[in-house]
Subunit: 396 residues, 2 copies
Amino acid sequence: MTPDFAWLRRGVVEVFPQSADVNSESLERLLLTTNQPLRVKLGIDPTGTDIHLGHSIPVRKLRSFQDAGHTAVLIIGDFTARIGDPTGKSEVRRQLTEADVVQNAQTYLDQVRPILDFDTPGRLEVRYNSEWLSGLNLEKILELLSTMTVGQMLAKEGFADRYRKENPIFIHEFLYPLMQGFDSVAVEADVELGGTDQKFNIAVGRDLQRHFGQKPQFGMLLPILIGTDGVQKMSKSLGNYIGLSEHPGQKYQKLQGVPDNLLEQYFELLTDLPLDQMPENPRDRQTLLAWEVVKQYHGETAAQEAKEAAQSGGKEGAVPEFSLAGVQQFPTKLAYILNVSGLCKSTGEGKRKIQEGGVRLDGDRITDADTTFDSPSELQGKVLQVGKNKFVRLVP
Amino acid sequence: MTPDFAWLRRGVVEVFPQSADVNSESLERLLLTTNQPLRVKLGIDPTGTDIHLGHSIPVRKLRSFQDAGHTAVLIIGDFTARIGDPTGKSEVRRQLTEADVVQNAQTYLDQVRPILDFDTPGRLEVRYNSEWLSGLNLEKILELLSTMTVGQMLAKEGFADRYRKENPIFIHEFLYPLMQGFDSVAVEADVELGGTDQKFNIAVGRDLQRHFGQKPQFGMLLPILIGTDGVQKMSKSLGNYIGLSEHPGQKYQKLQGVPDNLLEQYFELLTDLPLDQMPENPRDRQTLLAWEVVKQYHGETAAQEAKEAAQSGGKEGAVPEFSLAGVQQFPTKLAYILNVSGLCKSTGEGKRKIQEGGVRLDGDRITDADTTFDSPSELQGKVLQVGKNKFVRLVP
């Protein structure tokens, strides 16, 4: 009996190395022959706080590996995040502080919790790459650097453009692919997942594993998701994104507006439904897509509420409202509003939630427990959120 | 009274920064106004065992600073030597072992001992750059690397040629100028001496000192000496060199053969004689040059002997001979020959000297105490040497 590898192939752009010869090394062959769980690596840079459906794609694939009995090795690039990956960027990214990175990492884990299996023993390892990178000394770093030439590095897509345009490339940026590659050595990865822009970095990992006497990992490349505008890749800064921390009602609304030409790809990449169950009619496709994705992140009840709200035509209907008239005087502290709006049981709990990083105003995290607003106009129309599931829209 | 800076200017190609404005920052102004000894850095890479007169030029300038009351900071690049300076090289240099480097460093110090003031307190600091480089962690290294761009690095002479010719440049080579620059930070150098090929590296040191809040050093560039062929730069591999460890007779002979067009530069760079005392007649110049240089390294008696030997026409007259007929049987150990030739007092002392690295055969250091020769023909005509001053020529 040949196992069904549909889960493995679904939505994948490329697996490498992939020989034409069926008897030679391949990932499917390895999956058939291995007698222990494979170590499947996904590295993430905690450089931002908001994760969107585009980011979820390799995480969902990671879950599929977990469900097939393998070990997801999720690497939080707390060390590398402080440099910034120049891939595809035309400018150098600002360096983050350690505090930024710690907080971003926690937010990331909160947001991927609905996707991954955090509970079954042996199915998830969360590792921080400062564990092995912060202790590297100059001798070891020279060894890493000596495995690659400047020409190879400058041939990399992001660098090639910048070098041609004479935009500065700082030398420390060359370390990024090598550090990511060394992560594969450190965790002894069998497979690394990533977007199609990660091919170079994953290949560097293969080279370094070979250099250090390990069997090189397979690379599995997944698509970069096109955003809700149907044109550019999904990105917070382009405003064409659907964030994992968004309210179910907002998610539902946005998914219902996904352009027809993207529906099939969204179905393939963001749901587990067999593609032959995809409705013919584009409107039905949108509705089913919205339902499936919201259910995934928030459960069936929330999906049902979001669906009903959308059907009733209320654009923001699924978010309960709180009238700022209930606030007796301004200036007032946010912690007090958290209390009177019913999101927290007391002003003290409100302060604590803010300090724990669990409070957002229109998606932006608030961390100062003494945050104060001078007038209702600063708050009107915004969504105040505590944790993943408690929201109110502030109205006059 | 304006001090005489003739010693400072002699044989110097460039001092930088050097403003046209006499009131602005200049090295001479610093020398006039400082109330404490300047720290004058010379870094050397213990990558080879033989030092020649070309290498002696910045060391002699360092001595001039010592004589003016300043502190020579001689940096043995024991760490950097293990990478190889790509400057002006068209290929990557092999990496040396730690043992190579330790031995080369000792040899270097032995050879520069006649030039520098090792005795006056406060005039010499010998530092090994592993002291500060081996402990650098990735975070600090990223800081160093982030101070320069790939474009700046590839503009450097040695790299530019190699990149244009598509010869591989390994990324770890980019660290060399930064490590040399960080040496200046570590020792808080006020001045760095070097050949004209060191301008880039010394300038990197200035940038790094500024980055770390120090006053940037001055750079003083000295000529690259042309070899005894009168054409190419002095180099052991080109055979146009005069080694500091060569026998006084050999030195004298070679200096007497220096081409006329180089005599003035050799005088300026290799002796302390006022240039107006340089004889008119080229033959007299050669003789005086040979005398002065041999006297510097071996003392007046050795210079006198070398001169007489040269006058008597014996091309190798100054080296005593030992007949291999005195060796009773072959194969024989080198340690035994050291004994019977009178260079050592016993075969045991011979072995010890070999192990200490003090024995050379035709300039090549022998380090295996069990070195054995099968027949006299392997030794005939060669010069066997123990330490700096004991030589015999092995004859049939």
